[in-house]
Amino acid sequence: MTSRRALAIGGVVAAACVLAWLLFVGLPRWYGAPATGRAADAPATAPTPPGRKIKARLYYVSADGTRLTTVERDVAYGEGTVQQGREIITAQIAPTAEPLVSAVPPGTALRALFISDRGTAYVDLTGAAASAHAGGALNELLTVYTIVNALTSNLPAVTAVQILVDGKEVDTLAGHVDLRRPLAKDLGWVQ
């Protein structure tokens, strides 16, 4: 009787251990991979694993100055779409060296990035994006579509981008391109 009781207790303990393993180790291992394209509104709290990179398409001014050209570069991995968007924009607006020329004015920094449920990314840039802009309609288009295309072509969950400056909606950066509405991807500005 005593041995049967001990056997039952041992079975319950073993079952509890298996269940605990399943709950805390097995299931997270089987289902824990990030679901790409579904994390648009997930909070970006997970720390970025050090050194992990993704390949992203970034955009720079073409040699003839009238279009953007695509450059594939390593960009820091971000947990979730929002964090990945921040990493992409940070890489896109970082200072460049010849032969790359960035259409984003020097000194521009990312203040914040949010993504709505409908897939519209709001990219909040510092004032240099407008105040340091050299002007010209085409030049301004290249600046705007550098940001728009960098997000929409690397993050399928992002369908449109609205640029903000210093936390506010703006009409334009330099007097030409309408920024009052989100803009969709337009690869017509890319060679």
């Binding site: 001014v61 073409s62 040699a63 003839d64 100055g65 009238t66 279009r67 020329v101 960035s102 259409a103 050299a134 002007g135 010209g136 309609a137 085409l138 030049n139 288009l141 009409d171 334009t172 007097g175 030409h176 391109v177 309408d178 009052r180 509405r181 803009l183 969709a184």
Partner: protein
Amino acid sequence: MNLRALSLFILVVVVNGIQGQPLSPAAPLTVLSKEGRRPLAVTLVGDQEFVALDDLAVLFQLTVREETLGAITVSYKGKTIVLTTDQALASVAGKLISLPAAPVRSGRRSLVPVEFISRALTTVYDTRLDLRKPSHLLVVGDLRVPRVTIRYEALGTGARLTIDAAPRAASVVSQENDRLAIKFDADALDVALPQIPAQGLIQAVRVADAVSIAVDLGPRFGAFRATAQPLDAASRLTIDVVAAQTDTSSPGSPASPSPGSPGSPTAAPSAAPLPDLSGVGQSASAIRTIAIDPGHGGDDTGVVGSGGTKEKDLTLAVARRVKAAIEGRLGIRVLLTRDEDKKVPLDDRSAAANNNKADLFLGLHASASLRRGTTGAAIFYAAFDKDAEDKARASLGTERLPTFTGGSRDIELLTWDLAQIRHVDRSEQLAHLLEQQFHDRVPLSPHPVERAPLHVLESANMPAVIVEIGYLTNVDQEKQLTANEFQNTLVQAIVDAIVKFRDALDADRGTR
């Protein structure tokens, strides 16, 4: 015969010779000064107008002395003009001034050509003297006396008066029973009145008082619309007059605006229909008003070239040239969204075009590139994404609103910032016509026609494009853009494109 006797003999011969011509009174000059207006008698000798020196002496406090040997001295505050009765010359401080004729005698009075005032007297007098011979005016001092020229045009069943005042003078138009009164902010007017043919709409245009012009209205008069706009050195007032409603429905009269007619709300028949002023002149051409928008201005300099050229200055200079060329060669009214170095918000620019019912909007800009070698002009027309187009279509509709004069009109409603959507096809057509006319004349970008979401174009309720005339960031092109020769060529190409566009619109309308 001694020298004095010889001189007297010559003088007698000359004076007799002149006196042989008949002297007749002519229309007097009107002298305008702060003290008011007074007449100055004019005598006609042959076809030359003369004024008496003693009249001038009274008017301007001059001292006139007849010296020996036929010399006449005219003095004012220590300065002297010397005249000789046999010479068409005056001498002031040793400097000779030519006159159209020598002084003449009329009884005991000496007469001098009226040009003596503007050529000689003005050099010694301490107040500005402005002789306006064609209008028989002599303006003394800094009075505001604009030259007012009035043109009359018959347009379909309507008529247009174009009234230019130079230098600029603001004016107010009001209707008083059977006449329109146009009152100018001026001290007096220098008016050239037009001949008005009999047509029953406008009977006459006349001077009402010192600062007002009256337009006498005929029995066919229905309504009028007045539009003011600044020109380079003048102000222009355009008054469109249409016949009363019973007249506009006669066969052959211009119809109400065609569907999609640029810039005007569509007026549907209503219980008490008003004469449709937007139809005035429509029979003449589909383009009656063009808005030109010189980019940037004020503290918004736009692109600055390495040579210091500012986009805001360049666009204004080119815009003024385009305006002069269009008005001078095509007779189309041109509105500049800014005619000085000031900042104008983008919405105000398209609003100016919309409110003045412009039929075409032409923005002028210069380009910048981060690649210094980039050159060439490009023409932009508006782009909208699908969501915006759907939104615009959803917002289109009409609403019946009351008018000032009673009754009501159906007003077409559409979202302000999407007004361009229904004109995009025409805008694209205009862009390609500009590209064709620029070809071989103006260096073009590798992408000469571009479609882009440009703010100022989106609210324009008419075909609209922006011409980026070239790159100020390219050293050679900066020099080219500021050169007269290039600007003349550019302006000619733009005017030629507008002519082609107008012809295309007129042809389409004719086949509709």
